[in-house]
Symmetry: C2
Subunit: 401 residues, 2 copies
């Protein structure tokens, strides 16, 4: 079995068409409605924000996945307005949108999913979205490039990625698009990702793979520690490759999905507002992976760690202090702190003569930081974060003023 990167995104897998159009929701006239359509009912699985405040499209999509038994024909997405905190009117708009798409595609309404991203607390103009859906339906194609642009808000560019997975039973494809840069946009909300595959997967197995992959990709990234009201990750499987996924080939599905989800997740961190560096935070030592992730996330969200990395300051004391407050067990005497290949602290002993080499390493834009908690367990985790720059503060403090 092998996984290779290929060109394309949401339509790299057989059985899907997509398009993004401009529907006038964004004042700028940029693309703001994306429609993804499966030629036949596809298996679908999704994970949504855990924020207690959930936008209307999140509520409706959850409901539809349950009602359809995990099959879908279409996903309609708008950017420029999150349709969150918009009460009964917001829900009415969302239901009208999915009904219109179901008519276009010719499928039951519960086979249509829906996402919105943009400003919170502003009403979504229902006519514009429905006109956009009509235009996108007319423009559907096997070239999905406009689809990646139609879901952007202040992303610095479109995010798409695809792979071919070769297995003994044949090849299948996984491709996807994503948007977001943390919840870094004022009043915006935030991360959306859509992935398709032409493997044949039952909805329950697809949901299991999605859950597993999400924990190591989208749930392992942070830009600013904020969890939005609209976060959504949807996977659709058309089966068109003829490769059927069962318990024996489940690993191939996970590898393919994970390769695409990781690439999209890292693109989100790399494009985080104000970010100049992508940092992989590796933690080892705990008995469980979940404790390792807890420590990795605490380090990844530490303002002192993020500012030190921004300034290329090999400040291992901040890594030790963040590790010590994470809730995971930490034994200072056996702990080790490493940036790239350079050990800065181990067995209770600092190596301050390594500071210049470490500072030089930290001036690069792709970094690895490794903390061993000194607890001798086999648990490990990787979280990805970016540095914190004055530009982040400027963007988020001055956006509306």
């Amino acid at each position: 079995m092998s996984v290779s990167a290929i060109a394309g995104g949401i339509t790299a897998a057989e059985g899907f068409r997509a398009a993004g159009v401009s529907a006038g929701i964004k004042a700028s006239g940029a693309l703001d409605v994306t429609l993804i359509v499966a030629d036949r009912p596809a298996s679908v699985a999704a994970v949504f924000t855990t924020n207690q405040v959930q936008a209307a499209p999140v509520l409706v999509s959850r409901e539809h996945i349950a009602a359809s038994g995990g099959t879908a024909r279409a996903v309609i997405v708008n950017s420029g307005c999150a349709n969150a905190c918009t009460g009964a009117q917001g829900l009415t708009t969302t239901r009208a949108t999915v009904a219109a798409v179901a008519d276009l595609v010719g499928c039951p309404v519960e086979q249509v999913l829906v996402s919105s991203t943009g400003v919170i607390g502003v009403h979504l103009p229902v006519d514009k979205v429905i006109n956009g859906a009509n235009a996108a339906f007319a423009a559907l194609s096997r070239d999905g490039q406009t689809a990646a642009r139609g879901i952007m808000t202040t992303d610095t560019g479109p995010k798409e990625f695809a792979v071919r997975v070769d297995t003994p039973a044949g090849a299948f494809h996984v491709g996807g698009i994503a948007k977001g840069a943390g919840m870094i946009e004022p009043m915006m909300a935030t991360m959306l990702a859509f992935v398709t595959t032409d493997a044949a997967v039952a909805p329950a197995l697809l949901a299991r793979a999605l859950g597993e992959v999400t924990g190591r990709t989208f749930n392992a990234i942070t830009v600013d520690g904020e969890c939005s009201t609209n976060d959504t990750f949807v996977a659709l499987a058309s089966g068109r490759s003829g490769v059927a996924i069962d318990e024996g080939s489940y690993g191939a599905l996970v590898e393919g999905l994970e390769a695409v989800a990781r690439a999209l997740a890292l693109a989100i961190v790399r494009g985080g507002e104000g970010a100049t560096k992508l940092v992989a935070v590796h933690v080892t030592g705990p008995d469980s992976d979940s404790d390792a992730m807890r420590a990795a996330k605490t380090i990844a969200n530490s303002l002192l760690v993020k500012t030190a990395i921004h300034g290329a300051d090999p400040n291992w004391g901040r890594l030790v202090s963040a590790s010590g407050r994470s809730g995971a067990r930490f034994v200072l005497e056996h702990a080790r702190v490493q940036v790239g290949p350079i050990v800065l602290f181990t067995n209770g002993q600092p190596f301050d003569d390594q500071a210049p080499a470490a500072a030089a390493y930290l001036r690069q834009s792709n970094l690895d930081v490794h903390v061993d908690l000194g607890t001798g367990g086999a648990g490990h985790a990787v979280a990805w974060t970016c540095d914190l720059s004055a530009e982040y503060v400027r963007i988020n403090g001055e956006y509306r003023t």
Copy 2:
């Protein structure tokens, strides 16, 4: 019973003398050793950092409070070096320091407490600290002003506060000093506070009051969500006022301690590096105060909230989103968001016409933000935070470069 602010700090209560001197630990020549001495053994209680990484002086002070049964004659403090992550040598330095002070004061070693603050992972020069202790002992006085300066690191100024508490049984005094601005100083660690009173209080009752007050003051502030390796809050009671605290007058002790601790805690937030605004985050609605504090802390640590406040952006969506992810129950339909007197969101309805008035309010430097979680309970909490400015990033990213 009444509580009134008075002049002074750590020596405002009868029975204490203090001094701060320059011992050459700081390269700048600024004051860096402070000694506080009680004329006779005082009741003592203390709370320390919950970080699993604990500096040598924290370990020794914990041990001494247990061994002395809650009595102390002296507290020796140095700034400029945290003596954290310094292994066996660090512990030896700390033990030599307290032994020297016990000799000077003429008391058992376990009646001496010790604190350090400054750079992590650097050895504290034991001769300088002991010379400093000798000089400070010679300089002890009832004017404690130098004591407040001897514990500073990058604080913008000394922090001291004192009150007189009038009770039916007579008046007693509570005064204190503190340092810190969050764990915002590169490689530094961080918050120290020392409070004295001339009330007569048994150690166990003092410890109970300290625990109660800490939760509503020092544990209710945040600058950057970091918990350092050296955080310490010590209270000493001399009994010299003749006012004895029992269950009946316990409330007066708590009020006096809380007034001083709150003033010192707010001085820490107001002086947070890069901070231009002090923000009180009020949360109501949960059944328990602890859930209210959880939501208040989530809001107070949100980068998006802190940058919005910096930019005077009345961005209620960020307050709602942070509340929704705090873990406390949140009911959007009944929630209310208010900045100062201005309601921005209630019963699912935004009041965007209030935005200009809210922006004007947010341009002030002392702010109140109130979120009701819409859950109808009687729990409430206040957390204090500051805004996040580009200056914070500059200071913490560029300190050592």
